[in-house]
């Protein structure tokens, strides 16, 4: 059942002790339990705060990033005073301020195939609060191999998903998503944005599920997926079944150990602010572009969404959002010398692929996007 509670703890958790489903026994169970939270960002913020407040005895935090001011619109565990500090250290200080009775273990390293099993093996449950597909598949496979529940949540713009993937009792993440989407098809939050409150709503649900699993109460979301949309204010539930062909938890599973997840997904295992490159020979830096436009005429193609032009824009640039580019190629001339740009270089790199396959040859990708231009050439423009 777990260690005894002292008088201070009894007072601290008194509102839990009053609930028969938790009570003294449940609270002692929480004190004796452990949770690994992968990612200390939008989801990791409310999740870790609530699990710490609830008295989960040992909390592990994995993240290798530092706090940036663009995080603070949603990552409420961090603050203006911790900008530039390691996220795990910023979070640890906040959690121990909230509840000094718990242990917080930090892993300031990327969660990879090399360390994930070692890190996760000593925790009762794993919470997936990562921001990219490779780490989501890794988190799932680690949970399957270790036989631990993977409390899953994911967000984008106004959409959220929550489930409990526990291969011993139900489907795993791969049963629902056997393969990741092709690189570039699904934008990341750094590219597409996210409502700041969304990880609060979804992370709180994720923390609720984690607590239920640790306490062994209620009806956790095993075999069910919650779909939330903040714009419609809709909650939908769908049923998930174990996929008999699942490659990690099915009867004929052929993936028996961790793989190279970046290779599997075709994208890097992080979501670092939309900083893309089109590869050697296709990129032009902001400084090079500033020199080139002095000498000869270049056509500038901005593939961002129209509302982003209100934040920053380059004069004389033609705006065709990436999603419309394929159907609007006739507006462009293959004879033009052209530089394609977006916010950070990821979408424009995709636009470059599309344009080269359509026969455009005299094109370059502005490395680092209009944000690089703002930093290196024109500081009057904001970085976003």
């Amino acid at each position: 059942m777990g260690p005894e509670l002292n008088h201070e703890e009894i007072l601290r958790y008194s509102r839990h002790l009053l609930i028969p489903e938790v009570g003294l026994e449940g609270q002692r169970k929480l004190k004796n339990s452990s949770a690994l939270i992968v990612g200390t960002g939008g989801l990791g913020s409310p999740v870790s705060l609530y699990l710490a407040a609830a008295g989960v005895g040992r909390i592990g935090l994995v993240d290798y990033d530092v706090v940036d001011s663009s995080n603070l619109q949603r990552q409420i565990i961090h603050g203006t005073s911790t900008i530039g500090k390691l996220k795990v250290e910023s979070a640890k200080a906040k959690l121990l301020d909230l509840n000094p009775d718990i242990q917080v273990e930090v892993y300031n390293e990327p969660y990879t195939s090399d360390n994930a099993l070692r890190i996760a093996k000593d925790y009762d449950i794993i919470l997936d609060g990562t921001d990219n597909f490779p780490t989501r598949y890794l988190t799932n496979d680690v949970a399957v191999f270790l036989g631990k529940p993977n409390v899953y949540a994911s967000i984008f713009r106004f959409d959220g998903q929550v489930s409990v993937f526990h291969a011993k009792e139900g489907p795993c993440y791969r049963c629902l998503f056997p393969e990741p989407p092709p690189p570039g098809l699904v934008p990341s939050c750094a590219e597409g944005g996210v409502l700041g409150i969304l990880p609060g709503t979804i992370g709180t649900l994720q923390a609720t599920e984690a607590l239920k699993v640790l306490l062994g109460i209620g009806d956790p979301l095993i075999g069910r997926l919650l779909l939330y949309n903040a714009l419609d204010m809709s909650f939908d539930f769908v049923q998930l079944k174990k996929n008999p062909k699942c490659r990690v938890c099915g009867p004929n599973a052929d993936i028996k150990e961790l793989i190279d997840y970046e290779e599997f997904c075709g994208v890097p295992g992080h979501d670092h602010g939309d900083e893309g490159s089109a590869g050697a020979g296709w990129d032009i830096t902001a400084l090079e572009l500033a020199e080139r436009v002095k000498i000869n005429h270049l056509k500038l193609l901005d593939v961002r969404e129209p509302h982003e032009l209100e934040i920053s824009a380059l004069p004389d640039a033609v705006n065709i959002p990436l999603g419309q580019l394929a159907s609007r190629l006739s507006e462009l001339d293959t004879a033009d010398d052209m530089v394609v740009f977006c916010k950070g270089g990821t979408r424009s790199a995709r636009a470059l692929e599309l344009l080269t396959s359509a026969g455009f040859k005299k094109i370059k990708n502005l490395k680092g996007g209009i944000n690089a231009w703002a930093k290196e050439v024109d500081p009057k423009l904001p970085v976003y």
């Binding site: 994911s154 959409d159 049923q239």
Partner: protein, 90 residues
């Protein structure tokens, strides 16, 4: 006529529409109606050879069409069909 719910990431290809009225007697026909109304969504659902992409999950009511009869799953009309995206933000 059934209602097909479109997730945020794909609304860019449905003129921002969250719910689309679609007709058809099975999922294949319903999707054909969808891509006729909004051709730009086609590459996000189907691969080059016309098959449904493996990461596309369609649910009729609460049930995944993969657990029913796939794209041959019959549609009576009036069902709520949900397209579930792969999203990875955190």
């Amino acid at each position: 006529m059934s209602v097909l719910r479109i997730p945020t990431p794909l609304r860019a290809y449905t003129s921002g529409q969250a719910e689309i009225n679609v007709s058809g007697t099975n999922i294949a026909e319903v999707l054909s109606d969808l891509t006729t109304q909004y051709p730009a969504i086609t590459p996000h659902l189907f691969n080059e050879s016309g098959g449904l992409r493996p990461f596309v999950n369609l649910f009729v009511g609460e049930h995944n069409i993969k657990d029913l009869q796939g794209v041959d799953t019959p549609i009576q009309g009036g069902e709520k069909i949900i397209l579930i995206p792969s999203i990875a933000g955190g």
